[in-house]
Amino acid sequence: MTWSKTKQKIIEPAFSNNEGAEGKRILCYDEAIREALQLALSRDKRVFVMGQGVDDPDGMFGATRNLHLEFGPERVFDTPLAEGAMMGVAIGAALAGMRPVYFHNRPDFLLLAMDQLVNHAAKWSYMFGGAAFVPLVVWACIGRGWGSAAQHSQALQGLFMHIPGLKLVMPGTCHDAKGLMLAAIADQNPVLILDHRFNFNYKGMVPPEAYTVPIGKGVIRRKGRDVTIVAVSHLVIDACHAAQEAAAYGVEAEVIDPRTLRPLDEEIILNSVAKTGRLIIADCGWKTGGITAEIGAMVAEKGFTYLKAPIKRIACPDLPTPAACNLDEACSIGRDNIKKALLELTR
């Protein structure tokens, strides 16, 4: 596959209501990712997919279903439970000319691979003055619910956003899930994709051909003049709904989906705040030192003069996730939290 020739789609179709979707092909989120993998595997023999359970009968969240049958067990394979070494194996394979896609069904397990991911993958190109490089895609699913509790519910984007040398991608639509996966595989560098489990409920327009969505470019999902909401992953759709509801009160929110957290499209955020003067950041990770911290501080540093009001940070409470569903729900954030913040900020 000649990645450089892959068409780049910058314009994202309207997605929350699938406006203009008539006659377009609609796929589920897992199908969109699977199609990206399928295309990459067919077009580029350097690409392979590894990870615990990728060859399970159901595939990983459906996204890898039967790929091992189509491409053989050499190119789509299960791994031992050895997250530390397997991350190193993926790095080594990338160094030696392959394009591994390494799936993890929880980011919690990435903590076993932090040394390889942070000390090795993220630093390799720099450390050797560009002599070698690591075209590696690491994919993990975040999300909570059903009492999964403290070790199976983390949304660790706040950790990974701190690491120079690692690109961090969090798609919010089916279209982007496919296009960002292909962009990540085409990238010459380590890219971490975090997909929220809730996203797997989405359907959306997904063009059948191979296309990439650029890493590092955000998109405005809804235009508005009063408040800017930067929302991450599944919260993009929540933010759009909240904005819709707030519109009834005369508040017009602009919703930005950054799509990539690192590199972050600071410009799109600053331009929006320049217009609205108000900023809400919504993230499903922990608050302290997380995504909302970086984006908030960035605006307080570079867009201070635009700000007419304090920034608002909506994020999960700084707690391990409790199992009991009433407590778990009390920790979750979504449309209502965003709406509340919107109305408070414009009151």
């Binding site: 615990q52 359970g53 399970d56 009968p57 159901d58 299960d78 791994t79 031992p80 439970l81 050895a82 997250e83 530390g84 070494a85 919690d108 397990f109 076993l112 059903w146 009492g147 999964s148 509790a149 403290a150 070790q151 199976h152 409470p317 700084d318 707690l319 391990p320 409790p322 199992a323 009991a324 569903c325 009433n326 407590l327 009390a330 920790c331």
Partner: protein, 323 residues
Amino acid sequence: MKLPEKTLRQLLFEMMRIRQIQLAIESRYLENEMKTPVHLCIGQEAVAVGVCANLKKYDYINSTHRGHGHYLAKGGDLRALIAELYGREAGCSKGRGGSMHLADTTIGHYGSSSIVGGGIPIGTGMGLAIKMQKKNKVSVIFFGDGAADEGVLYESINFAVLKKLPVIFILENNQYSVCSKVSARQAGDNIFHAMPAGLLMTKKVNGNNVLDVYNASLKAVARARTGHGPSFIECLTYRIRGHAGCEVQDVPGYRPVGEIERWKTLCPIAAFRKKLLTNKMITLNEIKKMEKKIDKQIEDAFAFARTAPPPKPETLPLYLFRE
């Protein structure tokens, strides 16, 4: 070694109890009231029971995501277990842990991890504490064949042997990690069986034979208590149900045809029951009585759990830190 009849009957009772409790959970799981990912140990009861029968209340155990059996065999409170599955404040972890995070410090169970292999070094550290405190305890670590893929096992066994810690590593080899067979993940037989006996006592036993498990761990416990260091026991067994939750939730297609059926015929409880009956160490009637007794305990526990209150929302931030 000949065991007293009382012990044998107790072993049977404990296995039956764990089985019946698991079945009760399974049958009620689809009501969607236990909102927690359960991992049943149906078919593996002999391991927990055979090991824990050698332990004192004050000994430590360290368990996994598939931990109901270990918790119960060690003497954990049944009501508190079921309440935990229902996410209640009266749960053994106050509803914060769920099925994968059980604890009962009064019986030496300081909590289990759902990170595969995560409990192994922790149990090893408890062994270190025992040695430093010059106590006469042992620390038993249960883990699966999946955990045996993880380097932390190698590191922990090395440390336990190096420091001659009173630690017993129990590899509960049910041959699968989720849908992944052990042969797809491990290169050969477990390397630890090749450790010199003077450093690490190693044994491989039929994990579906409660007496084999009992006898092997009896030796390991004695070794640990007398300062002779750690042991490693691999128990070959089988998970009858799906990885997470109950039978109907199992994905089809990853196990060879007939495998489950074959292992069902190797049921650790049926075999042992038959043996005791044949040897006239128990009567059918007595077994019936046991079943009834257990059923009553189960009814009581579910009734308790169902009506117990969930945690109060305002308690959400509690317990992050110990004051």
